[in-house]
């Protein structure tokens, strides 16, 4: 090996140590730009190499850096690094690396609602942890799998995962909060508000006991969701405001933005669309900064609804269209259809029947791409209702006879 390469390797070791130290001493602080840029610059070099160098130190740095990047919201930017690192861990047969990096990658996919990918990666990571007999991270993954199962409508499977995790964890372990969170989410899906609230409060208590502020804030947000469902809007608003304060104190601007989006919905329901739009706008700015396209698509849909409500139709149309475009890339087919429907309804409201017809028929074709039959059926029914409404509108207008015939021809 050349002398230059030796020196370079020494520099790499020193860089890793320095950045590791900086990351460890700033555990409770948000990731600053300087530290992020330095770490990414180093990883750019390390991960470009076809044969991993200083792999264990690199892997440890990645595992330390991953939660920071996730918390800072740079999820899309961070995924390629973790994917590459996961591949390298396979090349060098590093089981701990494979499991740990898989867990971090799975979390990112889960946060991006990419359930299938998240499940696949988390399961293979779980297998490794199981074989290594590492119960805590294994339980962590079980909780994540439970959360995903819940979002995929597999409620009893989700409960199984959460209960299995609880059995593995000691009473004092903070990770138990996630198990109760999953159980609370299952109850919420079943619309059993009382049970949902009980589980979420149990989860909150654990977070309070272990001084886990970030997850305390998340549980307050969960409570806000439940209270919103129970139509206790003012109480929900209080929960969201509390959560936002906690997130902001932690410097967790992305989670704060997600909660602001929820708060906006409450204002919308309370009949204050302008206040709702203000909150959406603040949230949107954060999502744009960190390139979180999934959350961006959510906030755009919310904006669309409120713009439509106050008859700012062109802004509503733009918001829906942007959301559809985003979801074509980062969402599921169902998530695209879920925005096509309100856009179609907006077209009907603004007498743009041709575009309405196009978008509904496009949505009908897209139904075949949905894996879950119950969800596909639900959307089919919604689209058909909208098409009937469109048909009536078209019939009322003589000048759209031609459009009407085109439309009927496709029925």
């Amino acid at each position: 090996m050349s002398e230059a390469k030796n020196i370079f390797l020494r520099h790499i070791v020193a860089s890793i140590a320095k950045l590791q130290h900086d990351l460890e001493t700033s555990v409770d602080q948000p990731l600053c730009n300087e530290l992020r840029e330095r770490t990414l610059a180093l990883l750019n070099v390390l991960l470009q190499s076809e044969t991993p160098t200083e792999w264990i130190a690199t892997r440890n740095l990645l595992l330390l850096f991953a939660p920071k990047m996730e918390q800072a919201g740079f999820r899309s930017e961070w995924i390629p690094y973790l994917r590459r690192a996961l591949d390298l861990s396979t090349v060098v047969d590093d089981q701990h690396g494979k499991a740990g990096l898989g867990l971090q990658l799975g979390i990112l996919y889960q946060l991006r609602d990419e359930w299938k990918l998240a499940k696949e990666i988390l399961k293979s990571s779980a297998d490794v942890y199981h074989a290594l007999r590492e119960h805590r991270p294994y339980a962590n993954i079980l909780n994540r799998l439970g959360f995903i199962a819940c979002h995929q409508g597999e409620l009893s499977r989700a409960q199984q995962y959460a209960n299995q995790a609880l059995e593995l964890l000691n009473q004092e372990e903070n990770e138990r909060h996630f198990s109760f969170h999953v159980l609370g989410t299952v109850a919420r899906e079943k619309q059993d508000w009382t049970e949902a609230e009980t589980y979420i409060r149990q989860s909150l208590e654990i977070c309070q006991r272990t001084s886990d502020i970030r997850n305390q804030a998340r549980r307050h947000r969960d409570l806000g969701l439940i209270l919103d469902q129970k139509d206790e809007l003012r109480l929900a608003r209080e929960c969201y405001e509390r959560a936002i304060n906690m997130f902001e104190e932690q410097g967790d601007l992305v989670e704060a933005a997600v909660t602001k989006m929820n708060l906006g919905i409450i204002y919308s329901k309370l009949g204050n669309p302008q206040q709702a739009l203000n909150h959406y706008s603040e949230a949107k700015q954060v999502f744009q900064e960190v390139h979180d396209e999934l959350q961006l698509s959510y906030v755009l849909v919310n904006q669309g609804v409120d713009y439509q409500g106050i008859e700012r139709f062109s802004e509503a149309k733009q918001a829906y269209k942007s959301a559809i475009e985003l979801r074509k890339h980062v969402g599921s087919p169902a998530s695209v259809i879920s925005v096509q429907i309100p856009l179609g309804e907006l077209y009907i409201q603004t007498h743009n029947y041709l575009d309405a017809s196009d978008i509904f028929h496009n949505a009908l074709l897209k139904l075949d791409e949905i894996d879950e039959p119950t969800i596909a059926e639900r959307y089919r029914s919604e689209i058909e209702t909208s098409l009937n409404q469109l048909s009536k509108k078209v019939d009322e207008q003589i000048w759209v006879i031609v459009c009407s015939s085109t439309f009927l021809g496709t029925q």
């Binding site: 020196i7 020193a14 076809e50 744009q288 942007s322």
Partner: protein, 491 residues
Amino acid sequence: MSSRKQAISSIVNKKEVKSALEQWGRVKSQSTPLESLHLFQQIQQRLSSLPASESQKIPGAHSGLPNQRRVINVLLHEAIESLKQIDAETSKLLTERYLDGLSVIELAYRRNVAESYLYKQINQAIEDLAAIILTREVGFLNRKKEVWLQRIDAASYLELVGAEKHKQRLYNLITGEESPWVISVQGIGGIGKTSLTHAVILQVLDDCPFDEVYWVSAKSERFSPIGTIFGDSSAPTQSRSIFFKLLQQVAPDKIDSTRSPFEQILKILQTYLKSQRALVVIDNLETVTDLEELLPHLESLVNPSRIVLTSREHAGFIQPVQRFAIPDLDKPSSLQLIRQEAINTNLVEIGQSEDDELLPIYQTVGGNPLALRLATGLLHTQSLSTLLTSFEDAPTSQVGNLYDFIYQQSWQQLEELERQVLLAMPLTPEAGDALSYLAEIVSLSQAKISSAINQLANLNLIQVHREKPAYRYSIHSLTRTFLLNTAIGWK
């Protein structure tokens, strides 16, 4: 679109302001005083961004007046309000005379003064108002310049040698009233495309012939994917990312993401760039792999705005793009650059050398500024005659080989400590980093490595960005490539 080359003081004079005041409330008017001010453009944009119902609430902007008149009214009203903070009586006098339309006789009667005295007071008041408008315009311009400067990276050169002629030619092209609207500054690596463009833009900022200045780097700061492992087929293309980056500067609130429909991004850019005279710089275009997506759209964004591209390549550029090739420095400029570099880095003897003595460097290296700087840097460690002897073997047919040769020469001349410091550079962000961080990587004190840094800067292997509070050190992309590929053999 009016030219902005006029001095501000000639626009904001008593006569112009009086003419503007006299037209208050008039639907039809012969002229549009104060139209050339940046303040005018700013108010115009502010009014057009508001719904009609909202903009009518702004004092002076009531409906029924032509748009330009509304803008002037708002400008005057805001200035009169500012005057009120300093001299309420003068402000009141102007309001009553011009905004409320009271006659001089009526005003003289109300104030119990002679008409002639009141005329004098009005004259003085208009002068005061002109001074206020001038101050507001200068303040507005200064704030704008600060924003523009933030968009442009700090310079990595001390002085551009031999570029005066090109600089003036490029300045004229950029600030001209007619086509070409898209200019591509081209040349091989190290020729100084970014530096020349940067220097011209700084001059543009001083003269302010544009309403806005935007600077976007096409260089990706993130991973360059290896094969398909990193490949994200759904990632936005580089061209789209550039347009999106530009839009983030042009109209940050107007767009949602790089995934927003491309037509939408383009339409908003067109709306803004067509309605103002903006200068857009897209730097490092050679790093864009999908130029065919970007280039056809440029034409729709220009006139009155102008786009300047910097790029190593020139293949595939289409008709509306005017190529501005930066040639190698000529002999006198090359020799001047060698001397300048020598003087800046305390090579006094070289700085005082005769042309004949320095000519062989130029004859070997040619007129590429980076190559000349690197070669001059070598004179810190070897005599001119040794350098010239070693250059006898230099491959001169291809500039890439020449660079590799010079880098090898520089590398071989480095002391152990200098090599250590230079080898830390590829581990730092491309924008550079502070001395303290480099010291941590090299595991030595800042004091110990600072002399090595100075020497590397003398050798032109490190670029120094003189920023506050701390200097930043970076390396040229060609140096990074040499270090990783040749010196270290990383891949």
